[in-house]
Every structure is written in structure tokens, then in C-alpha cells.
């Protein structure tokens, strides 16, 4: 009730608008700022960012540690880490001061942020952090490393079920426990570096000083190794959880074209795109969303095509999301989109790597979310939602035919029931006389007005569609078909609805399945009912009113600074080679103008050089 009053109040009482500067997709000036700034490091940035920052931290910490430990350096140990305590020495000291130390540890553990050079402190911190032993799948394995005749205590922490045990045993534990005593021809005296360089033969090792980062790594399937006397932790990427393989996309099936779809693993998905775009300028920046879930996401763009302000805006929105948990890209889509009250989606969600790659080459930006097989691509226009991935793979006459059929199907799905109600109630003169007799004859015995008739059938169709999703196995689609047929036939036999209405509803339903974009299908399913009511209220005039209001609504919407009805409303300068209709692929020279990309030229005017050579002959 309070919400309703608030809505009425907002409608009638003027509220001063907030002074927010809405995002505008800026035009590119000369040059590629991102290229100039980053140079060659960009491609490796995502993998080595932390290592570089950690190295910097290492150096500052080393300097600090040098000052602290200079008084207690043992002979022959050139290390900035804490002095290595000989085997057996610790135990006596521990026995003597166990109680005092225990108190100190329990007091200090909560305040720890950096890795301690005392193994016991680190273990205590981890046990406290992971609420051990209550947390049953977190394991801490303590062991000893014997290196250069010294026995050093160490431990490894991992989450059972998230790691590949074989890799961990072979690449981490076995070398540390068994092989560490092999004579290694390395003069490195620094234990920390010695362990990293010689004792953990794993391809992805990170050296971390911050305990928070260690916990994040462990949470995401890495194992962390702590060594007594070393104030860093070593994390190894040993992810090995169960996951679905790369299969066919479920929602965007094509006859012609790749049959691979994304799965739930972030790195697999980025690899699927990189497999298609073998371009070093394709950037995959890592981000995380969600305070607790810290869901890893990847932001992809091609740095010398995508507009910098677009990339910055997407990053700004991603970094500005303040939630606890993020489970799926669908939630992220709702958090990123410009207008949540708009019926149509402003971001494309797709399962196909080829489609994402194609949109990246146009200058768009993609966001991949760990745990979701749907990748978000932005910005989008209304026309993009009508495109199917197959359009580029078939010859252009077939592609254009498919588009015409698709647009007709979409218009039917949206307007056909409303038009039927409008014609039967207000505009009888439009129907040819014979058809009019047929309709009247079929509707003679039906006790309901056409509006009620159509609502009954549309609702029944929606129920069947929704129920079909929930039924497992092969029964689901079968039930949908049979339910529709039987229900329709039974309804006609019972004189609840007229036969012509079954055709109307069937064509409407089939038309809605022809909508390539899943979300747009839902939008038009909702709007269809609005048009039914408008048609029943005011005939074609009401439908026109609805179309105008929908048009106004769509033209006032933007998707990441791009007008939603571009390139027709507003009219943009660029070519319309692949908007409503598709030109032959060798004629699609330029990228869409409304994206304000850095490099507008997709291909030279003569892209089929072989034809030019033939002409010269």
C-alpha cells in the first residue's frame, strides 16, 4: 500500500531531477590511448598483475625485513626472511613458552593481514578463518621439508573437492616432501626462493604476502603452501572440480556454424573465444564481483577497436556493484543494464563463442561470469536482438529470407491476437465477406466475447509452455505438443473457443519461438497481452496508440550510451550492411558507426582480390 502511494505521489508531484550526467559514448580522437599507455605488457597484464605488484611488495618488505633481521642472521643464510631454526631447536623453545605463545597467537591471529614467518601463526590464522575443524572439506596437511640438511616445517591448505589431488600430490607435496633432499645444483641460499624455484615444479605459482589473497586463492581451487621461517605463501593453481564439458549450446542452435557452447568455467570460456580470435589485442581483464562470493569475471574487448569510454563505463559499472553474492550472468545483467523497467533487454546474453567473437570484432565488450554459460555483450540495439548467429554463415539471399520470416513472425507474435480482437470487434469491413461468414459461423456457438476467448487460449498456451519446462526428460516437449493439441481440440468441441482462434494462438506461439533472443521473447509475450487489451478497447486506434507508446519508450532508451533504435532512430552515418537486411559479406566494409569505434574499417573495399586479379587478366 505504501509503495502504491509512493508511485502515485511520484506521478503527480514534481520531483526535482537528480543531477546525474548520463554516460555518453564519446567519439574517438586520434590514436589508441590504451595501446599507447600499455604497450606490450597489456596481453600479459591479467596473468602477471598480482605477481608484479607482489614483487614490488616483496622488495619493500625485503628492505623492511633486512632491517629487522640483521641482528639475527645465521652464517651462510643470505636471506631477508626470518632465520631458519634448526630441527629440534623449535621444540624446546615451544615447550618452554607454549602457554605464553598460545595466548599471544590467539590474540594476534584476528589482526593478522600479512603472512607470518612463523608457521604456527599461519596455521592458527587459517584454522580460525576456515572455522576448523567444523569446516569438513578444508584440509591442512602439515609436513616437513628437508633441504640442504635442514628440516623445515611446512603445511599445505586446500579445499577437498575443488583441487585435483593427483596434480597436488605430484607437483606440490611429492617434490616438497620426498624430492627436496635430492642434491640440487643450485647455490640459492634463500629458502623461500629455493622452494619456489626448485621444489614446486608447477606451471602457475604465485608468491603472496597478504593472507586475504591467499584465502581468495584457496577458495578458488588453489592450494597454499606455508613454510616455517618464510613470510610468504606459495599458491599453486591445482583446480580440479567436476564440471560440464564443452557441449552444444542449448538455446541458440544452428544448422550451419560451430556447435560449441560456453560452459560454467571462466577460463574455458575465455579460451573458446581466444580459439576463434587469435588476436593479441584481445584483452581479457580479470575482475571480481560480490563481497562474499568474489565471483571471478572477465571483461573482454579488442583494444584497438573498442571505444575506450565504453570499456571504462563497463568497468565502472562492474566495480560499482555492491552485493554479497553473484550467482549468474543473469543477475549481473540486471545489475548492469540502463533501465530495469524497460520491457526489452539492453544487453545480449549468448551461449555461443562465435557470436561473442563476432560482436567483439564490431567493437562491443563482453563480460564472462564464472559459473554461468551465458556471456553478456554490450551495447546492443533493438535490431541486434533480431539477428541469429546463422545469418552470417549462410549465403546472403537465404539470410535475408530468414530475416524477413523472422521479422514477420515477431510482428505476428506481438500483434496478431490484438489485431484479431480489433478486427472482430471494430473493423468488420476489413474481412472479406466469405471469411466473415466463416468466422461468424464458427463463433456463433461460443458464449464468450472474443477478448475472453483469446485470453483463455493465450493463458492456456502459457501454462502449457511453462509446465513443459518443468517436466523432466522427453515428456516435457511431448506434453507441450499433445497438451496443446488436445486442449485446443477439446476447447473447440466444448464450444469454449472458435476454431479460428486455435490457428491464431498457434501462429502466435510459433512466431514467439522464432524470436532469436530469449529475453526478447519474454518481453513480447508480456506486451502481447497489452495489445490484446488495447485492441479490445479501441480497435486499431488502440493498437496504434500502443505501438506509438512502445516506440517512444524504445527510442528514449539507451544501452551503454548507444541509442536503442540506432541506426534508424537516430539516423547514423555508417553503412547499413548488416542491420535489417544483410549485404553480401564482401560488401560489409565498415563497422557500425553508432559504436564510435577506433577503427571503422573492417575490410578494404575490394576484399575479394581474386576477382580483381581475374578482371585484370
Amino acid at each position: 500500500m505504501a509503495d502504491f502511494k509512493k508511485i502515485l505521489k511520484d506521478l503527480f508531484v514534481f520531483k526535482e531531477p537528480e543531477k546525474i550526467e548520463k554516460f555518453i559514448l564519446k567519439e574517438n580522437k586520434n590514436g589508441c590511448d590504451r595501446c599507447q599507455k600499455s604497450g606490450n605488457v597489456e596481453g600479459k597484464k591479467t596473468e602477471s598483475t598480482e605477481k608484479e605488484t607482489e614483487k614490488k611488495e616483496d622488495r619493500t618488505d625485503e628492505n623492511n625485513q633486512k632491517k629487522e633481521d640483521s641482528g639475527s642472521r645465521k652464517k651462510g643464510v643470505k636471506t631477508t626472511f626470518a632465520p631458519i631454526i634448526q630441527a629440534g631447536d623449535n621444540s624446546k623453545k615451544k615447550e618452554d613458552n607454549s602457554k605464553v605463545k598460545q595466548d599471544k597467537i590467539t590474540k594476534d591471529v584476528n589482526k593478522m593481514s600479512k603472512v607470518s614467518n612463523k608457521l604456527a601463526d599461519n596455521v592458527a590464522y587459517l584454522k580460525n578463518k576456515y572455522t576448523l575443524p567444523d569446516n569438513g572439506d578444508v584440509a591442512i596437511r602439515e609436513f616437513s621439508i628437508t633441504a640442504r640438511d635442514k628440516t623445515i616445517s611446512a603445511c599445505v591448505i586446500f579445499i577437498d573437492g575443488m583441487v585435483d589431488r593427483t596434480v597436488m600430490d605430484l607437483a606440490v607435496l611429492q617434490p616438497l616432501m620426498l624430492l627436496s633432499n635430492i642434491e640440487i645444483k643450485d647455490n640459492e641460499q634463500d629458502i623461500g626462493l629455493f622452494v619456489k624455484n626448485s621444489l614446486i615444479p608447477h606451471n602457475q605459482i604465485k608468491i603472496l604476502h597478504e593472507l586475504g589473497k591467499v584465502v581468495d586463492e584457496v577458495n578458488f581451487g588453489s592450494c597454499a603452501v606455508f613454510v616455517d621461517g618464510v613470510d610468504t605463501a606459495f599458491t599453486a593453481d591445482v583446480k580440479g572440480w567436476q564440471n560440464r564439458g564443452v557441449t552444444n549450446p542449448n538455446s541458440e542452435m544452428v544448422i550451419r556454424g560451430p556447435q560449441e557452447g560456453f560452459n560454467e568455467i571462466l577460463r574455458t570460456n575465455t579460451a573458446l573465444i581466444r580459439k576463434i580470435l587469435l588476436d593479441e589485442d584481445l584483452i581479457a581483464e580479470n575482475l571480481s564481483v560480490g563481497r562474499r562470493s568474489k565471483t571471478p569475471c572477465a571483461l573482454l574487448y579488442i583494444k584497438d577497436i573498442a571505444n575506450d569510454s565504453l570499456v571504462d563505463e563497463v568497468k565502472r559499472r562492474l566495480n560499482g556493484i555492491n552485493i554479497d553474492y553473484l550467482f549468474d550472468s543473469g543477475e549481473l545483467e540486471q545489475l548492469l543494464e540502463d533501465n530495469s523497467y524497460q520491457a526489452v533487454p539492453q544487453i545480449i546474453a549468448t551461449e555461443r563463442p562465435d557470436r561473442v567473437a563476432s560482436m567483439l570484432t564490431e567493437g562491443k565488450v563482453a563480460v564472462i561470469v564464472q559459473g554461468s554459460p551465458f556471456v553478456l555483450v554490450m551495447p546492443t540495439t533493438h535490431i541486434d536482438l533480431f539477428h541469429s548467429p546463422e545469418d552470417s554463415y549462410v549465403r546472403f539471399p537465404y539470410a535475408n529470407l530468414l530475416r524477413i520470416i523472422r521479422i514477420t513472425a515477431i510482428v505476428m507474435a506481438l500483434l496478431l491476437p490484438g489485431l484479431y480482437v480489433a478486427i472482430t470487434n471494430f473493423h468488420h469491413e476489413m474481412i472479406p465477406t466469405d471469411l466473415l461468414f466463416a468466422i461468424e459461423a464458427s463463433r456463433e456457438k461460443v458464449p464468450f466475447p472474443s477478448l475472453v476467448e483469446i485470453l483463455i487460449m493465450e493463458l492456456a498456451f502459457e501454462f502449457i509452455r511453462e509446465a513443459g519446462i518443468r517436466i523432466p526428460g522427453p515428456l516435457g516437449p511431448t506434453l507441450g505438443i499433445i497438451g496443446g493439441l488436445i486442449l485446443g481440440q477439446a476447447a473447440v468441441a466444448a464450444n469454449i473457443v472458435s476454431p479460428i482462434l486455435i490457428i491464431i494462438v498457434a501462429v502466435t506461439g510459433i512466431g514467439s519461438f522464432a524470436i532469436p533472443n530469449f529475453s526478447l521473447g519474454y518481453a513480447y509475450r508480456i506486451l502481447r497481452f497489452v495489445y490484446i487489451f488495447l485492441g479490445a478497447t479501441a480497435g486499431f486506434f488502440g493498437i496504434t496508440c500502443g505501438l506509438f507508446l512502445q516506440g517512444i519508450w524504445l527510442t528514449s532508451t539507451k544501452s551503454f550510451g548507444v541509442p536503442f533504435m540506432a541506426p534508424m532512430g537516430p539516423v547514423t552515418n555508417g553503412e547499413l550492411a548488416d542491420q535489417i537486411f544483410r549485404a553480401p559479406i564482401w560488401k560489409q566494409d565498415k563497422r557500425p558507426d553508432f559504436l564510435n569505434v577506433k577503427n571503422n574499417e573492417k575490410q578494404p573495399k575490394i576484399s575479394r582480390q581474386w576477382q580483381e586479379d581475374e578482371k585484370k587478366k
Binding site: C545, S556, V571
Partner: protein, 369 residues
């Protein structure tokens, strides 16, 4: 509002739509009544007069790039000038919009919703105008760019669909009711281009002077072509004096289209397209009215005025006693005298503003010396 801008094509289409919408109402009937069989000449020579007037206006406007007519009036006469000119345009727009709203509503009632009360029909227009005003001129202009090709196609279908009824003898005698009546007495019919006043409020959204000129010229030329062509097509189909009797001429022409069993009686589809055009015209008109009020009285926001102005227009549109009274007002008042507000007032304001500017520049140069 000031940061919104749109291109030439969009501006031309919005002005063209505003000037050409009357073709779907009683324009051709009025032309038949004014000039008989020579009524089709009226849009041509009035457009030439309008082009000449715009030539002078555009020359004077060169010094006021990016300023609308209210700003120019402020330069010319200070606050008094601004309010006076603003009020003239406000009254003009309220009057025209309320009459046109009444006519649109009555026409819809005639051929689509004969059983429904007039207020019910008009409320749809009001809702559309209110929603469009909230979204702003940008969305109205963009939507118009999408709608115009569809409306033009619909218009062409009606014109070409009636080709089998064309009879060139319907255009005889060539000068209709006489050259004096057609070319001299009907000069005030230049008011058929009264919607051209939109351009004076589009200037801040267009920006460049060069674009202002080309928009003005092209919109007048295209509108005159559409109006002339539409009038000729009607006269070719319906002979004089029957052409003065059809209340909504193009509706009748749409009814005449008959190709086979299925392509006939297409006036309902024609209504769809015609109504879209009407929605754009009314929405744009209302937006510019709000814009004018905001600029005239130096208000910070225009949105609080949307509902009150809508209610005022809704109330005023019921003031004419009947449809015939509204049509008479439109034909004999609006379409005879609106040219004064559209062409003469801006001309006078621009001349005065130019003189004031020159005087100020003279004083400045004297001070420097």
C-alpha cells in the same frame, strides 16, 4: 534539454510531418472549396511565397546561430520582448493544438469508434502527448524518423491504388474558380505552412546555421510536393464539386482501393498510419509548447507543466460546439491567419533584433575609440 541534438534528416522529417498531416484531414476539401479544380495550385504558389519569406528570415538569422526565436526576442526587446513574443506563440500553439486535437478525435470517432464517447477517444491522444512530453523531443523526433517512411508508403498505396479512377478531365477548367480568386484571394492560405514555426524552436537542437537553412528549405519543398501531389491525386479521382463534400477525403480514397477479394477496404490500415502521424504531430506540438513556456518565463524545469497543459488543451478542445465548428475554426481562422505568427512575427523580431545588435556594436566601437 539543451544538450539534446539531432540531425538534419530528423529535423526535416518532423517539420514535414507537421505540415503534411493536414492532407489526411480536410486539406484537399478546403483546396477544392478555395480554388475549385485549380486548388492544387494553391500549395505550389504558397510554398514559393513561404520560401521567399524564409529566404529573408534565414538571412537575418545568420547572426543568431543556435538561438531560438524567444532568445532573439529577448535580444530585440529585453524581457518585455521575450514575454510578448512568447505569449503570442503560446496562445497560437494552444489554439491550434486544441482545435487539431478535437478534429483528430472526431475523425477517429467517425470511422473507427463511432459508439465511443469523444472524451474517451481524445484521452488516448492526451495520454500519448503526456508520455511523449516526459520522454523529450529526442525520442519524438527519432520515432518520427521511423514512422515517416511507413506513412509515406501508406500514402503512396492510397494514391497509386486509385490510379484506375484517375480522370484528367476532372482538372478542367485549369484555373478553376478564376485566376484572381486562386492566386490573389487565397494568398492567406500560406497558413497551410503554419507548422513551419517548429523550426524556430528546433534551432538550439540543430546548432549550425548552415543546417538551419537547409532544413528550412528542404522541409518546405518536400511538404509542398506532398501536399500538391496529394491534392492532384484527389482531384483526379473525385470531380468538382463532389470534392468539396467528402469530409475526410483521403479516407474515401482509401475506401476506393479495390484489387481482388482481399485487397479492399484498406481504410482501417490507413487509419493506423494516419494516427501515428497525428500522434507525432500532437506530441511534438505539445513539447514545443512546453519548451516555449519554459523559455518565456525562464523556468528551470518544464516537466511540472506537462499535466496542467494537457488538461488545459483537453478542456479547450471541447469548447467548439461541434465538429463543424472546429473545422470552421481550423479552416477559416487557423489556415487563414496563422501565417502572421509563423512568418511575420519572426521577421519583425529578427529585424528589430538585428537593428538592436547593430546599435550595440556601434556603441561598443564608439566606446573603444
Amino acid at each position: 534539454m539543451d544538450k539534446v541534438c539531432f540531425g538534419k534528416v530528423e529535423a526535416i522529417f518532423i517539420i514535414m510531418n507537421a505540415m503534411s498531416i493536414q492532407l489526411f484531414l480536410g486539406f484537399t476539401r478546403r483546396m477544392a472549396g478555395s480554388g475549385g479544380t485549380a486548388g492544387w495550385m494553391i500549395p505550389i504558389y504558397t510554398s514559393i511565397i513561404a520560401l521567399i519569406l524564409f529566404f529573408f528570415i534565414s538571412k537575418l538569422y545568420k547572426s543568431f546561430e543556435g538561438k531560438d526565436i524567444i532568445d532573439v526576442a529577448e535580444i530585440a526587446g529585453g524581457s518585455f520582448g521575450r514575454i510578448l513574443v512568447g505569449l503570442i506563440f503560446i496562445v497560437d500553439y494552444i489554439f491550434i493544438l486544441s482545435i487539431m486535437l478535437r478534429i483528430f478525435g472526431e475523425d477517429i470517432k467517425i470511422f473507427a469508434l463511432s459508439q465511443s464517447p469523444l472524451s474517451f477517444v481524445i484521452i488516448f491522444f492526451i495520454i500519448v502527448m503526456v508520455v511523449a512530453s516526459y520522454t523529450g523531443v529526442e525520442s519524438i523526433v527519432r520515432l518520427n524518423t521511423l514512422i515517416m517512411p511507413v506513412v509515406i508508403i501508406g500514402f503512396l498505396i492510397v494514391v497509386i491504388g486509385n490510379i484506375k479512377f484517375y480522370d484528367a478531365t476532372n482538372l478542367l477548367p485549369i484555373f478553376g474558380d478564376g485566376a484572381y480568386k486562386v492566386f490573389i484571394k487565397e494568398i492567406p492560405r500560406i497558413s497551410i505552412y503554419s507548422a513551419f514555426s517548429f523550426i524556430f524552436f528546433l534551432v538550439p537542437f540543430i546548432g549550425k546555421y548552415k543546417d538551419f537553412k537547409s532544413i528550412g528549405y528542404w522541409s518546405l519543398i518536400f511538404s509542398s510536393i506532398v501536399l500538391t501531389f496529394g491534392t492532384i491525386a484527389y482531384f483526379l479521382v473525385v470531380p468538382y464539386p463532389t470534392s468539396t463534400e467528402n469530409f475526410i477525403p483521403y479516407l474515401h480514397m482509401a475506401r476506393y482501393v479495390n484489387y481482388g477479394r482481399f485487397f479492399q477496404r484498406i481504410e482501417s490500415i490507413f487509419v493506423l498510419m494516419w494516427t501515428m502521424s497525428a500522434f507525432v504531430y500532437l506530441s511534438a506540438g505539445k513539447f514545443f509548447l512546453l519548451y516555449m513556456i519554459k523559455k518565456t518565463f525562464k523556468l528551470k524545469y518544464y516537466r511540472p507543466l506537462i499535466l496542467p497543459i494537457a488538461i488545459i488543451i483537453f478542456t479547450l478542445c471541447f469548447m467548439p460546439q461541434s465538429l463543424m465548428a472546429a473545422v470552421t475554426l481550423e479552416g477559416e481562422v487557423v489556415r487563414r491567419f496563422a501565417w502572421i505568427v509563423t512568418f511575420i512575427v519572426p521577421l519583425v523580431v529578427l529585424i528589430v533584433a538585428k537593428l538592436v545588435n547593430r546599435k550595440r556594436e556601434g556603441e561598443k566601437s564608439n566606446e573603444k575609440v
